[in-house]
Symmetry: C2
């Protein structure tokens, strides 16, 4: 266990009494995931620092220990890491060679560069999972339209094309119904992966944590509801999911976390098909599928991630209500979301509103709402009404 | 309603898009109550600013928008208030004349100076509550030992002496068994109040919120367990409390909030006696008796306070578990609390640890732990074990 914290004790933060060895976690990126990690860091009273691109990044608005810098600059990353016992991530876009260089220089990165590679390179992820015997959609690397057409001859149209790296929230994924559509994507000058179009019953996500001590913890398996490639709702737990399939999803995620030596959180996005579970995507950080845990689980995913990367014992992942529903809030056309609080809060005193402090742009994730209760249909209705009103000023929007 | 927010629109915080009228709350004081308000402010994405005495105050360590200043200086208060739509408080020690001067200058203070007076002057509080017909311990203002002895002739020894202003956490309260003990307190050159020594079954607290729109919300009534005048445990709800007495406590707190025109939270500390409920103390801010609401209630007291002072509709105050227990963590002799996380988290993955980032001094409130479940005896045991281990490094301490 070469990554033990006590090998690199940090100086106590200013204001702490002498003798208190409080570790410091640095998070690269200052989006909403970093923002929602701040309260967990405050509760544990650990050191926490974020690397932000700008002073008005989402997390930088709510946390004092912010360094400005570019995650694509090795110098900036080195400077940032110098004050941290552990470095972790709000996103997966730090260049792999930089991650390797930091580790070489003795920086403790959790998850490590070897694990993160599988979130940055979808072809490497597919190859590794396939080698592990994990069921995935059938895939092939494709260099040009000819490759895509050969893939389609075997798997049929539509063909799903994915950028091997750099995609998120539906960006970098194209469902192509014809060679003409595929030709457009093939012309984008990107490394591409072709995948079969999977006809699934629904999408699930299994969120687990794993620590350097190899402790694992699995949250209840959730259903995610996407529209236009963007997650719109999370139902926790996934309604009506058979216990054996839920357990299979948790075991699969824990196994992947172990095989890939993930430290921190691992979110495994899954297709639930009549033939079984197929892995769609991996993420190694707090994830949209786990926002419900802030109010809905004993330990929030954000605290869990900090505990895991600090190699502290993991927290209980159990739920606090029979059913939790989270709905993402996307930007509409009117930036004045606050003005609509009065209606939403008066209409439903039980809805929990989370805004990310981000400028409102149409379709951008700017917040989420969470409701806890018993009946999934009622909770979905409540969450959608609140999100719709905050977005559009009417409960009947999308 | 002269305090409507829209009469004093603030400029949008830096980085917000034009058109978004986001209000800003200023909290005077940067202790743990302000610290725990920060996540609620982040979730609502409102403006939030704290007035801290020092850069390493508890809240200043976890929030970026901090002004340094002295709450006893009117100039500092004026400067602080200039950037805020609403000013509220982490403690009740701002001098009354300063509060009046701020209101006179048009600053929106919630709660207002007229209400806060009853948390600053215990004699005024007793007189006002008595005028309202609210049952309190029998009391009298006392100027010297002679006054105290005359009070004791009627009410017997021991006599409880209280500083009329400035007390907290058992400070400023003396239980005197004899004239000799009372003489010591009488010699302190303080304005004093004598109260009968009430032989109560237990202590309760009723926490409510009230908004300028006169909306009220009442949390479940809790039992507070004190030792040496310091709250050590909170049991939510108060175990075995008859429904009619719980309702009486909630109604009483809502009535006091209305009569005193409180905006924000009001905590009413009560003695539960065979003859009924007696009011012990009032506080108009987030309160130790409500820390359990962070995990244990739909709406935390910190979010509720912000909603109330912003005149937003109040959140649901209902519980998320049949029983919640909070135990305060007091400082022990070893400052390295973090070093003991591993044991506490491994022993009980369900315990929620909150540290306040304060220097460890013996007997000082430096954090709390919360557990949710069904059985109060088991939960008390778990909470006490965790708090004891964090304090002393053993589960068998106090």
């Amino acid at each position: 266990m070469s990554e033990q914290l006590d090998e690199r004790p940090a100086p106590p933060p200013a204001g702490e009494p002498a003798g208190a060895a409080i570790p410091s976690v640095g998070m690269v990126g200052a989006g909403q995931l970093a923002r929602m990690t701040c309260p967990a860091a405050a509760g544990l009273a650990i050191g926490f620092r974020v690397l932000a691109a700008a002073a008005d990044d989402s997390a930088a608005k709510v946390w004092p220990d912010v360094r400005l810098g570019d995650y694509r600059s090795l110098a900036d990353l080195r400077g940032f890491a110098a004050g941290c016992d552990v470095v972790t991530f709000d996103h997966e876009h730090v260049p792999g060679p930089h991650l390797a260089a930091l580790e070489e220089a003795g920086v403790v990165i959790r998850p490590g560069a070897d694990a993160l590679r599988y979130t940055q390179d979808k072809l490497a992820m597919r190859e590794r999972l396939t080698a592990l015997g994990v069921a995935c959609p059938r895939y092939a690397p494709v260099r040009d339209l000819g490759d895509i057409e050969r893939f389609a001859e075997q798997r049929g149209w539509p063909v799903v094309l994915k950028a091997v790296s750099g995609g998120y929230d539906g960006k970098g994924v194209w469902v192509c119904a014809s060679p003409a559509e595929a030709a457009e994507v093939a012309g984008l000058d990107l490394r591409l992966l072709a995948e079969e179009y999977v006809s699934f019953d629904r999408e699930l996500a299994a969120l687990v944590a794993r620590s350097p001590h190899r402790q694992g913890a699995a949250y209840p398996v959730v259903q995610t509801v996407q529209r236009d490639g963007i997650c719109r709702e999370v139902l926790a737990p996934a309604p009506g999911l058979a216990a054996d399939r839920a357990e299979a999803a948790q075991s699969l995620a824990l196994r992947i976390a172990a095989e890939l030596d993930v430290t921190g959180l691992l979110a495994v996005e899954l297709f639930d098909t009549p033939g079984g579970l197929l892995v769609n995507e991996l993420a190694m950080r707090p994830h949209n599928c786990g926002h419900w845990t802030i109010e809905g689980a004993v330990t929030s995913q954000f605290e869990q991630h900090l505990r895991a990367v600090l190699d502290l014992p993991l927290g209980a992942p159990g739920p606090l209500a029979p059913q939790v529903v989270m709905a993402n809030l996307l930007g509409g056309t009117d930036p004045d979301v606050y003005d609509r609080y009065i209606h939403v809060m008066a209409a439903d005193p039980g809805v929990k509103v989370h805004l990310y402090g981000k400028a409102v742009r149409r379709g951008r994730k700017i917040g989420h709402v969470t409701v806890l209760g018993d009946d999934v249909a009622e909770l979905r209705d409540r969450a959608r009404r609140a999100a719709s009103f905050l977005r559009w000023g009417t409960e009947d929007g999308d």
